[in-house]
Symmetry: C2
Subunit: 439 residues, 2 copies
């Protein structure tokens, strides 16, 4: 069998992880031994790396990878939007299948890339884009297609989960843990994409598209990160029997009606109180976990390392092997049709429902004067807005001020907004200090 030529664009931690696997096929699936690293595009030829390559296969020009006739599969692990996106499209147009870990590109331009791939009859596989090493993309494509999926949710950003785990365990402030996480390499020097929730929003956009069969507009996802989270909320949540996790949630509340051209999905990213007995509550550190719910499967969970060189490389190689496996099916030169599961083209239109339509439980922390009537007044307003309350607890913070934590039942966010407007107007209420979701 002729070896299958692989071209790597990028040789950072993930790229090196991929190269390590391909260079050491022993004890892995024998198809790994059929892969050959033909060329690698790097930024700096002189840079010292943990594994060394002959200079003949290194290049600083990624276009050489895209155009190399000995390369059948292009692996894009350089990251960032451009030039990554253009290189992916050029590789597709050159008739090569593409494997990418680039969630930012796929979340924003997935539909365009999928159309290009379809036209060229090649695959673009993205297992590494979500959940690091956890097999979640392939299971969604290939193992859950018999289900009517109703919800996909989970912890899909390792950096913030690491920070939240430490805030919870050590009772320390966000800023302190972030600084330490940066020192330890668990957070980037510019942590914005992680801590502000944008990375998780990219990933839930991708998962939604696969689970519900239609791309959504990434920009429409309401996103709140952990960067404004206060230690006091972690403490109060724990006292009430919850941990706080940054959850990404995508839910089909209603089935598309006949006069709707598109399936509405409630999608959002937000720090969320998770009851201690929920399987997500035990997911700590840089681990990720994704729950998929549907009919008739019920609920399944995928758990594992959400980032890191090795796990992400495992996912990239999984995609390479899937493409290599399909290529080896072809006995003659007639090109095959695309496998409709693996190519995962859209099969209905979907859109992000309005934020005020999202139905969920809420955690609200208010700072108010410590006067006897205040809880009654707050309760009255919630009642007027038809918001049923699960609990209302007063934590005293000083002689004159009280912190009041309200947990609602499941309500539409539009209802909550209305109630909070009225509560803000109460003379005893000084501040709505925090609002979060609650499972």
């Amino acid at each position: 069998m002729k070896k299958i030529g692989i071209g790597l664009i990028g040789l950072g931690t993930v790229g090196q992880g991929v190269a390590t696997i391909i260079s050491n096929p022993n004890d892995r699936h024998p198809l790994v031994g059929e892969l050959e690293l033909v060329a690698i595009a790097v930024r700096n030829l002189q840079k010292k790396r943990d594994i060394s390559f002959p200079n003949s296969i290194l290049t600083t020009n990624p276009i050489e990878i895209v155009n190399n006739p000995n390369i059948q599969i292009v692996v894009e692990v350089m990251g960032g939007i451009e030039p990554a996106k253009s290189l992916i499209i050029q590789a597709i147009r050159a008739g090569k299948s593409v494997v990418t870990a680039n969630k930012a590109v796929i979340a924003r331009h997935g539909e365009e890339i999928a159309n290009e791939a379809k036209a060229a009859g090649v695959y673009v596989l993205i297992e590494a884009a979500v959940g690091g090493g956890i097999p979640i993309i392939e299971p969604l494509k290939q193992s859950l297609g018999g289900n009517q999926i109703t919800k996909v949710s989970g912890i899909i950003n390792g950096t913030t989960n690491y920070i939240l785990s430490r805030m919870d365990k050590e009772g320390v402030d966000y800023a302190d843990v972030l600084r330490d996480a940066q020192k330890l390499g668990y957070a980037e020097s510019d942590p914005a994409a992680d801590v502000e929730g944008s990375d998780a929003a990219d990933k839930i956009a991708i998962l939604s598209g696969l689970a519900f069969g239609g791309a959504i507009n990434r920009a429409d996802i309401p996103t709140t990160g952990i960067n404004l989270l206060e230690a006091i909320d972690v403490t109060y949540a724990r006292k009430l029997g919850y941990g706080i996790k940054l959850l990404a949630i995508s839910e089909k509340e209603k089935t598309q009606s006949k006069n709707q051209k598109s399936q509405p999905l409630s999608i959002w990213v937000e720090p969320t109180l998770v009851p201690e007995d929920n399987p997500l509550a035990g997911v700590n550190g840089v681990n990720n976990a994704i729950l998929v719910e549907g009919n008739p499967i019920g609920q399944v969970m995928f758990f594992g390392p959400g980032a890191g060189s090795g796990p992400t490389a495992s996912a990239v190689v999984a995609d390479i092997l899937n493409i290599a496996g399909i290529q080896s099916m072809n006995k003659d030169k007639t090109p095959l049709n695309l496998d409709p599961l693996l190519s995962a083209k859209s099969w209905r239109n979907c859109h992000v429902a309005e934020g005020r339509e999202i139905k969920k439980k809420n955690y609200i922390r208010l700072i108010a004067e410590d006067t006897p009537g205040v809880i009654g007044e707050i309760g009255t307003i919630f009642g007027q807005k038809k918001i049923s309350i699960e609990s209302i607890v007063q934590f005293d913070s000083s002689d004159t001020e009280a912190e009041i934590v309200v947990i609602t039942h499941k309500i539409k966010q539009g209802q909550l907004e209305q109630a909070l407007l009225d509560i803000k107007k109460l003379p005893q209420v000084k501040k709505i200090a925090a609002t979060m979701g609650c499972l």
Copy 2:
């Protein structure tokens, strides 16, 4: 596109679940709509069922399914060894791909069936054979091939996990819970295959073959069920910070040496103490969870409903879709080669290592006279056999008798056997009342 003809052999709970999905393609992957239920073999044509079928597609003769030229995929969900095995082989020889949930057949005759399938150029897919609805077979085949797998373990029998969960929560005896589980339909009227561990051994045999690339002899797996487990051990385990789970474990302790023709694997099924902070400890009721460990992925876990009509049907349909997807790739009549990932043929020889070579932590409960020197004597024997002890705790059971629980560090089982022989000879020791594994 011409519809893909499906023939069902068996219309029990799983068969009905599969038929329900195929008959209601709305809101599922569009490929479900390309499937057509051509014929169903049942035992009794008159039986009342939740869904009704035209009599024209029902038959009492499964050979008609196997030989029907309009059927491309045969789904065997009748269970039992024969005639299921023969029907699978006849279907393969008739050039049809097969989907089966039959772990007993695959664990015992998987290699023979795989060879038949290879010769005929068809697939035999078995997602539903392990872990009910949990995608675990496809991820092992298609998503983890880049890894050097070191261990597969987990809770893979829902009935026993349900019984253990209730024994733990309610402090009741095995026999009482079993009776109740039978009434509720969570245990069969003949529960032997579940409670004696044979079902879990079938499943770990299948998982081992996929994870390590070579079939093992199912009969060689040392298997202990939960049928002899006493409530007192559940209580003591909990006092020491553990829950008891029936675990199936398959581990590559050593890499195959050059003079070995086959890779040794330590495989066993046994009630096992699981520390409360281990992810398996929280897996309760009929849920299953499978951990896969390897290099470079680290550890991933797959969790979900381990049995039941809907989840198992979800897995069966996943396999049907995978085959249908591949069939739709073919543009002309030239048959395709088999996808080496999906067909999962063996790529090395493996065998079950001797039980005495298994290295693990152990829980041992002894009944002894309540005399001052007894713990010292027991400790001395363990020391002589070079067995390091993690803890030794005395629980008083009566005025004259003491129950002594020993937890060892990780040791070879051969060492433990030797020590227990000597301990039995101690005049103060009345009985070795229980031995179990411990994580």
